[in-house]
Symmetry: C2
Subunit: 237 residues, 2 copies
């Protein structure tokens, strides 16, 4: 879908409200040329630390959106909201019930025009995301395709997020997924530790998400912006 | 959404492969001026009785689509397919797992352009549909709205089906739901036993589904077509 508010994003940084970042580091991230910052984490997210991170990012003009993974962190004032649906789990709470509970509590206040359901396929068994959501993360290429069809073709979700959270994914699998996607915007996240892997993921994903490396090697993190932008420019030729 | 293959449907008959209908009765239904026939049932649906009903309907030019409520009844050759997602259940199988299983088995053969996810809110506790799917069918107006938002605004499903299966629903509730729907096509089904109730439901729902009465009073069933069409014509004025 080309008419979504995130349809032009090629590179985003994902910042965790539960992890520390100095003002200098945050400035480098916000001024890096990235298309947006996603605020979200798999554990330790609270209203307080989410508000705090939002207010610090708000010193800059970069778009800032919230991945609403816990009701505790549902903070107003973001430029947009992603509501994750984990597709490869058998747990009803992560399939739909937590999201429903969110609508029961906050439904009247949701800025629908800036809110998007995002279908997650979690593919790193060791990740907190997989463990928290009970995801069946050990999927072969053939096994992953039904989830892709579910998100992209049957539910026609505007966003399909391939989440390798913490580890670099199988790029052959990502390429295969990309070849099956007809309308969703394909996000890739996980293990992007510098320009090389960012370039690789950008070949297949519409949008590359860079997270952990921000906290361990900010210089390497910053190089991913141009790496992704170069691949995307080249794809236009 | 105005660009779906079912966007113009105002009246449809729903026929159950597990129930008997004479050739004469079927001809009256198919030639009634209804916009389409949905084949589907909550129990007793098999490949054989679904194929049989499809082949009999195929003698006529009316559109015929399948509601894929069981894998056993997944028959090729229909003009379209609805894949139901029951929204007001806590059971993972009816939320998403059965549908996923269907994609795992038949995903390569799905005619995506003619296949639509339909969000069901089942509101008759006594119905087979509610009992089979474990639906929490006793919802107040305030309680039903989050399900409407889930289907229409968050998941942006193309079809929201208010299913009172076997009993005539609360038209005040239907009106409230209709006022909240922004993009989905709103189907209403349940307890339409003649022209009067068909007219009532047509005031709020985009599409009125007439089922059981076909089997007990075909003359009454046939009057619902014109009743719905009259309301819809009047709404255009």
């Amino acid at each position: 879908m080309d008419n979504e508010w995130f349809s032009q994003w090629e590179h985003v940084f994902k910042l965790d409200p539960d992890r520390a970042l100095s003002d200098e580091q945050l400035e480098l991230i916000c001024m890096s040329g990235t298309d947006a910052i996603i605020v979200g984490g798999s554990s330790g997210v609270t209203y307080e630390n989410t508000v705090d991170l939002l207010s610090r990012i708000r010193r800059y003009s970069v778009d800032c959106v919230l991945e609403v993974s816990t009701m505790d962190g549902a903070v107003p004032g973001f430029d947009g909201y992603f509501v994750p649906f984990v597709l490869n789990t058998r747990r009803a709470d992560y399939l739909m019930l937590n999201q429903l509970e969110g609508l029961q509590t906050y439904g009247h206040f949701v800025p629908w025009q800036m809110t998007a359901a995002s279908g997650y396929i979690v593919l790193n068994e060791e990740s907190t995301a997989a463990q928290v959501s009970g995801a069946d993360a050990s999927l072969s290429t053939q096994e992953v395709l039904p989830y892709v069809w579910m998100a992209d073709r049957l539910l026609r979700l505007p966003l399909l997020y391939i989440e390798y959270s913490g580890t670099f994914g199988d790029m052959n699998l990502l390429r295969r997924i990309a070849s099956e996607v007809e309308q969703a915007r394909l996000f890739y996240g996980g293990g992007i530790d510098g320009a090389e892997r960012a370039s690789e993921a950008a070949q297949y994903a519409h949008t590359v998400v860079v997270g952990n490396i921000v906290y361990s090697n900010i210089e390497a993190a910053l190089t991913t912006v141009q790496a992704v932008k170069s691949i995307k420019s080249a794809q236009l030729l």
